[in-house]
């Protein structure tokens, strides 16, 4: 489990680094996406990250519970 999360974290860092180099070349895309319509897009981005985080957490709780249920079944 730990191994997998470390790996996905490294992948995320690598992707961010790649996005950063792209951003250096064109400057605009991220800026353009985040700054439209009075910068409300940025707020939507923040809300999106929080909701996505909550749902990912909910999924992980669900998975953990499934493991617990399986263990109970095997013992009982």
């Amino acid at each position: 489990m730990r191994n997998r999360s470390t790996r996905s974290l490294m992948l995320l860092v690598a992707m961010l680094a790649a996005a950063h180099t792209f951003a250096q070349e064109h400057v605009d895309p991220v800026d353009r996406a985040l700054h439209g319509a009075g910068k409300a897009n940025t707020v939507a981005g923040v809300v999106g990250i929080i909701l996505a985080g909550l749902f990912i957490w909910l999924f992980s709780q669900d998975r953990r519970l499934t493991r617990l249920e399986r263990r109970n079944e095997n013992e009982g």
């Binding site: 319509a37 409300a40 897009n41 707020v43 939507a44 809300v47 999106g48 909701l51 996505a52 749902f55 909910l58 999924f59 709780q61 669900d62 998975r63 519970l65 499934t66 617990l68 249920e69 109970n72």
Partner: protein
């Protein structure tokens, strides 16, 4: 993880609808008109807009209408993208009624500030010199700009789904209670209890978000509105359901009592939230005798976000219920 696809769908619907609720622009509209009363002669009205672009494509046409007649402004000066000045000649003997201010930008929108001015001390209506178009031009995807609500119309996609989810969970709970009374299986009693617990979580969110919204639109954290008090009483009735459960030690007896109480609670919830607000006046739309979800309350631009939001939140509520039931079984 079993049946993960509908959980993923719930997450995607909630996230997608929430982003759309925040990002779809609000239609242009009018917010203010000064002065608010007219006297015969030359009158200059300063009109403020929101999300408007009066500075584009030439000055808009500005008119006044009181339901009987209408007049057009003699001269319109654009002061900025959201500000315009209109000079009217008000005929003598006009007055005694309120009039709407209408602004027609060349882009085809129809902006109306309802009952914006009082026409003064005379007795006649405005002369029938000008009529504003019945239909506004087609526009892109935007939320309607309604007086009082303005940007808070976006709350529709967050506040209302809380109540829908609560009601679905309580309907589910009463279903399990009926199943318990028919079969006597304690398994269904546990499901009824967990559904009420999760429904109260959504009721709390609904009350809090509604209170905040009420402060911004109706001017008070709590009003004596039928639907507000009905929702509060319903929440108390369901809290009492949990208190009742906690006060009976014997599992079988507790299940019997709770199941019967739950049926009464559900009927009362329907009466307090769905029936009574429709019989009396309510600040909530769709009440006081009007059908909910009429075209006037909810147009297609709102529906496109509202229905996915409701569906997504209901599915999320069912997911939380599913987790609570499995958790209490796993830890028993």
């Amino acid at each position: 993880m079993k049946h993960w696809w509908w959980k993923l769908l719930a997450a995607l619907l909630v996230i997608g609808a929430s982003l759309a609720a925040l990002l779809v622009p609000l239609a242009p509209g009018l917010t203010e008109c000064v002065p608010s009363s007219l006297s015969p002669g030359t009158v200059t009205l300063s009109i403020s807009g929101y999300n408007t672009r009066f500075d584009r494509n030439g000055p808009p046409a500005v008119g006044l209408t009181d339901g009987h007649g209408g007049i057009q402004a003699d001269q319109v000066t654009v002061l900025g993208p959201t500000s315009v000045k209109a000079i009217f000649t008000i005929p003598a003997d006009v007055g005694g009624r309120s009039a709407h201010v209408v602004v027609l930008p060349s882009s085809g929108e129809r902006l109306v500030l309802f009952d914006a001015v009082w026409t003064g001390s005379g007795e006649g209506s405005l002369p029938d010199r000008w009529k504003f178009p019945e239909q506004a031009a087609a526009h892109g995807w935007e939320f309607p700009n309604r007086a009082i609500l303005y940007e808070t119309i976006r709350n529709l996609m967050f506040h209302v789904p809380m109540w829908f989810t609560m009601m679905v969970l309580q309907a589910l709970s009463v279903g399990y209670s009926v199943a318990y009374l028919r079969s006597g299986e304690l398994r269904t009693d546990l499901q009824a209890e967990k559904a009420v617990q999760v429904s109260l979580f959504f009721a709390a969110l609904g009350l809090l978000t509604g209170s905040l919204w009420a402060r911004a639109t109706w001017g008070a954290w709590w009003t004596n509105d039928t639907k507000l008090n009905g929702a509060a009483v319903t929440t108390l009735i369901y809290l009492a359901y949990l208190v009742l459960r906690g006060s009976v030690a014997d599992a079988k007896k507790r299940a019997d009592l709770a199941a019967v109480y739950n049926i009464f609670a559900f009927v009362l919830m329907l009466v307090f939230i769905m029936v009574l607000p429709r019989l009396t006046d309510s600040l909530h739309p769709g009440n006081g005798g009007n059908p909910a979800f009429s075209q006037y309350d909810l147009d297609d631009d709102l529906r496109r976000v509202f229905y996915p939001a409701v569906l997504g939140w209901i599915m999320t509520g069912l997911w939380l219920f599913n987790l609570r039931v499995r958790m209490s079984r796993a830890f028993r």
